[in-house]
Amino acid sequence: MSRLSRFVDRLIPDRVLEKTAQLPADVGELGVDPFGYDPKLVKYVATPVEWLYRQYFRVQVHGMANVPDGRVLLVANHSGQLPFDGMMIGTSLILDRDPPRMARSMVEKWSARLPFVSVFFARVGQIVGTPENCRRLLAREEAIMVFPEGARGISKTFDKRYQLERFGQGFMRLALETNTPIVPIAVVGAEEQAPSFANIESLAKLMQMPAFPVTPTFPLLGPLGLLPLPSRYSIYFGEPMRFEGHGDEEDEVIFRYVSEVKAKIEEMLEAGLKARTSIYL
């Protein structure tokens, strides 16, 4: 067993080791933080993910300097059927930021019911998205990744690509309440990793999934068809936005603030799409 683990350890590239070793963590006696995150496991996950990041999606990052230290809400558009966009944003914060940061995303509630997935998410620092969890993490000065479009965004069909769905408002109330800056993020490229022609809601319901997309490869190729296509990713980090308030404002006020963030992301998406020279090649 230890021979195997030594062998696996040798497969981890130094540049990954160097970055993951710098991740701050407040772990208890048994090696995990209070939310079940184990910083020692990150390097194992980061190794294949680094390959996806550099070789497969060939991620280009712009504006990383806009991500401050201390508590921050990273608010991004959501697309691509499977949350590789979240994975790539998280990876960019580890590999391309100095010092690296662990982004903790607010994951779908139903993931806590899934065997293996629930444990995997917890160990790599991802947390079920409840306001209480978010509040606690912000109080610990963590970086929280939020996709206010939620399942609406990630499972939308290809004809609606790069059109933002309705934004949830919870993140704005939390930002106001905790006086947390918001960094708007635009991800270009994730839409094309799994272009979906239809979302069969009845099947999704039957299988207790948030969506049942039909893509060129799924369900045709079975589970293999869930693998994303190698589209080029660009991630744009906008300047931090700060809003003044207490979090108990009327819905209209919150809506106005949320619209500002949404408009900013739309603007960044548009610029990103214009700057894009190739989708896959």
Binding site: G28, E29, L30, L114, P115, V117, S118, V119, R123, E132
Partner: protein
């Protein structure tokens, strides 16, 4: 006049239980204790007055007539999952009765031991539930129903009798060399079950740390409900690793029917709803007790875990 001459005592219920004994030994250092249980009481210090009675019966009131009762420390809830027939009544009516006597005889304090299981393990749970989180534990686990009912009665009492200092403690899973509850017994299994693909965050507290919290609660100057949390939290798998346990991994869809079958024929001592504790999180926030009661566990996590296999009586 007569109240002056009466001896002052503290009543402790659940005296025959393992935790009850520990609490009474501690209380006994500071107060004259009347130990109450309807089961035979053994192994208490000699000068502790023992009273074998059901708290719903008249005999208990004699203590109030002949002594000045300073405090009631109520550990006398039955948690037998096999459920004696009158368990619910005993727990609910018994607690109600003690509260009535508390009000009637002007008892200063009422301290009760509840449980953090009252919130219930659930996939939708946030981490670190505070004392005002909904009490959903009874949804799947009928044993918890008693605790929820008792909790309501005690909370109601807070408002009707603000003059009584009423404290309710909700500790996480209590483990230790002497307690024989479901979590301790689970950790003592040769090859404990785990649910395939699940590894919830678990909180444990050493029995002696619970006693310490009870003592702080019985000297606390106000009323309140407090989660009592031990030395941190850890995934179940790591806790089992500390004990060098080999586990048996059972998929959720098999675990439930198998355990239900085993439970119904008496081949297992674990009620099927306990499975949720090894599948989902029920993590609570103990910061209020730390702030208000000044409670800090003395045992660290590894020692707390190891204590279950140290010594059995």
């Amino acid at each position: 006049m007569s109240t002056r001459t009466k001896p002052e005592v503290v009543i402790a219920t659940g005296a025959a239980g393992n935790l009850g004994k520990l609490v009474i030994q501690e209380l006994h250092r500071q107060h004259a204790v009347v130990a109450v249980d309807r089961r035979p009481i053994r192994g208490l210090p000699k000068d502790v007055t023992q009273l074998r009675t059901d708290v719903r019966w008249r005999q208990i009131e004699d203590v109030f007539r002949t002594s000045r009762v300073r405090a009631i420390v109520h550990l006398g809830l039955i948690h037998n999952p096999r459920g004696e027939d009158d368990q619910y009544r005993f727990n609910v009516v018994g607690t109600q009765r003690l509260l009535e006597l508390t009000a009637k005889y002007g008892v200063d304090r009422f301290v009760m031991l509840s449980s953090a299981n009252i919130y219930g393990p659930d996939p939708d749970n946030s981490y670190f539930l505070t004392e005002d989180a909904p009490l959903l534990g009874a949804e799947h686990h009928h044993e918890i129903r008693d605790l929820v009912a008792v909790d309501r009665i005690v909370q109601n009492f807070f408002y009707r009798h603000p003059e009584v200092k009423t404290v309710m403690l909700r500790p996480v899973h209590i483990v230790g060399p002497r307690v024989k509850n479901a979590p301790s017994n689970y950790l003592r299994l040769e090859r404990p079950w785990v649910i395939t693909g699940f590894d919830p965050i678990v909180q444990l507290i050493h029995e002696e740390d619970v006693v310490r919290a009870m003592m702080l609660a019985s000297n606390y100057g106000e009323s309140g409900v407090f989660n009592i949390v031990g030395p941190g939290e850890a995934p179940l798998s790591r806790i089992l690793q500390v004990l060098n346990k080999k586990t048996r991994s059972v998929p959720a869809f098999l675990a439930k029917p198998i355990l239900e079958r085993a439970w119904s024929v008496g081949a297992s001592g674990y009620p099927p709803p306990e499975l949720r504790h090894i599948q989902y999180n029920c993590v609570v926030d103990g910061s209020l007790a730390k702030r208000k009661l000044g409670f800090q566990p003395h045992y660290n996590l590894v020692d707390t875990i190891r204590s279950v296999v140290e010594y059995r009586r």
